[in-house]
Amino acid sequence: MVSVDASGAPTLESPPVSDADLAYGDDGVDVTLIQEMLARTPEERLAALESFVAGLMELRDAVGKPAP
């Protein structure tokens, strides 16, 4: 059973989730990421890829620059 506060949000005292609820499968793959991708259309999947890669390139460029 999950403890909730007055607003209905789970409290910090909630018991830990069971292994079955965790994101990772026994092969180490994050199943929740796959579920999210499968829920998208192929075009949305490509958009997610582009957005992620653009973010990585932005991060790479930011890290490569000296602080002002």
Binding site: L38, P42, E50, L56
Partner: protein, 165 residues
């Protein structure tokens, strides 16, 4: 040193390929992403039909995106139709990101052999042929390189979860 790669725009690259009526199928990790695999990749891999007419259409596409071969020495080499008619790999840098045009996959399997192992998806309302996840897994198992083996658990799990839907 090769020139810096522009931000990849795989969706636009595939749309422009379709606009040019190139016969091709998507392979590699973009094929995996299209089928729900949560992975990142920086280039688009395609296998094109190696007929003179199709290579001509592919050459027109490549000209439209300012393609040059990615070259370790940094030379700006234009696409070569003779090379595109062969079974080798043609790694291009384009204005829409890096794109590799492969004459064939491992074992010499080209467009004709791979087409029955592909699935058709819609991109902007147009049919897009994509190497099936099953065939992609088999290909990576065959290649057996570390970089291929590393993604197999992700591909297999996505295939299993997708089948359960």
């Amino acid at each position: 040193m090769p020139s810096a790669s522009p931000p990849p725009r795989p969706a636009e690259a595939l749309r422009v390929l379709l606009d040019h009526e190139v016969d091709f199928l998507v392979v590699g990790m973009v094929a995996a992403v299209l089928q729900g695999v949560p992975a990142a990749t920086f280039d688009v891999d395609i296998v094109h039909r190696r007929t003179p007419e199709n290579v001509e259409r592919l050459m027109r596409f490549l000209a439209s995106v300012d393609a040059t071969y990615r070259d370790r020495a940094g030379r700006r080499l234009p696409p070569d139709a003779r090379s595109l008619l062969g079974t080798g790999h043609n790694p291009f840098r384009t204005s829409l990101g890096d794109l590799d045009a492969l004459g064939a996959l491992h074992g010499g399997r080209g467009y004709t052999e791979l087409e029955p192992r592909s699935v058709v998806m819609k991109l902007g309302g147009v049919d897009l042929r994509v190497l099936s996840l099953e065939a992609l897994i088999e290909e990576k198992e065959r290649l057996g390189r570390e970089k291929d083996l590393a993604v197999l658990p992700l591909l297999r799990r996505t295939l299993a979860l997708g089948r359960g839907k």
